[in-house]
Amino acid sequence: MSTLEIRDLHVAVGDKEILRGVNLTVRSGETHAIMGPNGSGKSTLAYAVAGHPKYTVTSGTVLLDGENLLEMSVDERARAGLFLAMQYPVEVPGVTVSNFLRSAITAIRGEAPKLRDFAKELKAGMEALSIDPSFAQRNTNEGFSGGEKKRHEILQLELLKPKIAVLDETDSGLDVDALRVVSEGINRFRGLGSSPGEHSRASGDTGVLLITHYTRILRYVKPDFVHVFAGGRVVEEGGPELAEKLENEGYEAYTAKAASA
């Protein structure tokens, strides 16, 4: 049982305040969707929680199982059980996918996997996401298409098995087939640790914070809670029905409200 607890989080980039008091709690077994228009600060939330140096936390706390993530380095946060699937995964020249993943698994699990076990695990993981085996020997994200990069992010999610995953616009730029494959990966992750037979509800020991602009992915990955983000904070919360409302009405009501606030 894990809990990610974000309290009154204020974040700035340079002198500009982007997040203005975000409150959000994600528990294992739960899937939260954060929806909002472009520029509302959704990605800032994801990167600030992960510890990207560009973002300065000016006040507030982020706790993972009671431990203050904000006092940790980026890698310590990941080892504490946080995962960020990035909207724009970074190309790392000369570092092969296989080398990268083995280093990451070694860091997260605290010991290097046996080469044979790793090869097997990697092969199975790639197969499940319809990633061509040749990608293992390619440089990390280099020359990958948008869809390939996103599959590669979900491959990492499944291999590293964090407690809480923040998925930043993982659905953007995916065609229907890729969206299905990626969603299945997320659902496998959601089901981790749950007892057999419960997979349909996908309420395992992992929590998901899914950041998205569109409702499309929510047809495949059903959220338990939906939060509407505007002007750097959560402006409305509800269940899955809120996503449907957004689908029909758009964000206009919220952007107007944020602008006048």
Partner: protein, 374 residues
């Protein structure tokens, strides 16, 4: 600044076997302005006593002929004429030269390894090496510089028609070594030349690889890797002179620098003369500056005197480790030091893959690892 800008083609015109034809450099000359002359220990003005002190040991492939010859051997100095003071000093001071011959139509069955071991930096030593690859022959050559020395030498690679020579030159000197060297490749018709330079050790290393072509179809790849530590001066001065049509050249040098006073210099001169139609050339230099106090000077020069080229370009970039690379790896739990190691490793990995001799690949990789562990 008082520096004159002269065309490359005139800058590289001067060549002579006679030391007196080159005034003692003052440091203001274009070709010497980056080099700290006081650390040459007299190689540039002949003030250091000469006692030799670099032992040349050759482990040759069975098909390859190796000779040690005197100054009067008629084959020496044909492919290359010294083009600066130190080069001329070396040419007029060496006592014995090594001549390696790969007979025509012969493919050497294994690399020929020449180890040059210095026994001390208290006196100057001069050397000369001629590698002659006869028509349609093929060979791999390793030059392995070790120990301590104040050493200046000229190396001639004479690659005849249809022949292929692949050279790996390792400058793995002790910390106090000074090495000034010219490597010149003269390529015949359809000759192929691959040079891989790895410079790691030494107080001051100044290596000038150059290429000339005598007939069309010549093909040269010059690759280099260097790792500059605190106080080291590692300088590579490339010159590719395209003077005949339809030849190709590619220069790729990458270096990393760390520590106070670490200084890398890369000069990439490419001349495409009026006669050299159909030339295809590209040169690239990248420097990764890992700490404050390190400095990289990177100067690509491309002089094109004909409008009829197949391709010509250059690129140079010096910068720090990319924060985004490090962030991405750290976001997957990989600690900073390990992330940094992976990224630097990656920076060099694609180059190291090009080394022709697998055992050397391992050695260079582990040398890079050792540098990173400092």
């Amino acid at each position: 600044m008082g520096l004159e800008t002269k065309p490359l083609s005139t800058l590289h015109e001067k060549s002579s076997y006679d030391v007196a034809d080159f005034p003692v450099p003052t440091g203001r000359e274009e070709e010497w302005r980056f080099t700290p002359l006081s650390r040459l220990k007299g190689l540039h003005d002949g003030s250091l006593a000469v006692t030799g002190g670099v032992v040349v040991d050759v482990e040759a492939a069975p098909e390859v002929r190796v000779e040690t010859v005197g100054r009067d051997d008629a084959r020496l100095g044909k492919a290359y004429t010294p083009s600066d003071r130190v080069s001329a000093q070396a040419y007029s001071s060496f006592e014995k030269a090594t001549v390696v011959t790969v007979p025509k139509m012969t493919a050497a069955s294994r690399p020929t390894v020449i180890t040059l071991r210095g026994s001390g930096a208290g006196a100057a030593a001069y050397g000369h090496l001629l590698v002659s690859v006869e028509p349609m022959a093929e060979a791999v050559l390793v030059l392995d510089h070790r120990g301590s020395a104040v050493y200046a030498d000229n190396v001639e690679f004479d690659v005849a028609e249809g022949a292929t020579l692949k050279v790996v030159s390792l400058q793995d000197w002790d910390d106090d070594a000074v090495h000034v060297s010219h490597h010149h490749a003269r390529l015949g018709k359809d000759a192929t030349f691959r040079s891989f330079v790895v410079t790691l050790g030494g107080d001051l290393v100044r290596l000038s690889p150059s290429v000339s072509y005598t007939a069309p179809g010549g093909d040269a790849d010059l690759t280099g890797l260097y790792f500059v530590d605190e106080g080291q001066h590692l300088e590579h001065r490339l010159l590719v002179d395209h003077s005949v049509p339809n030849c190709r050249s590619n220069v790729t040098y990458k270096g990393a620098l760390q520590g106070d006073g670490a200084h890398a210099v890369w000069i990439g001169d490419v001349i495409i003369r009026a006669e050299a139609e159909g030339t295809d050339t590209y040169e690239l230099n990248r420097n990764l500056i890992l700490t404050d106090g390190a400095r990289a000077d990177s100067v690509p020069n491309l002089e094109i005197l004909t409008g009829e080229v197949a391709g010509a370009g250059h690129a140079s970039a010096s910068g720090r480790l990319d924060d985004e690379h490090i962030f991405y790896l750290q976001a997957r739990g990989i600690p900073f030091d390990e992330a940094r190691r992976l990224v630097i490793h990656g920076f060099f990995a694609q180059l190291i893959e090009r080394i022709e001799v697998p055992e050397l690949r391992e050695r260079v990789l582990s040398a890079v690892e050792a540098e990173l562990a400092r």
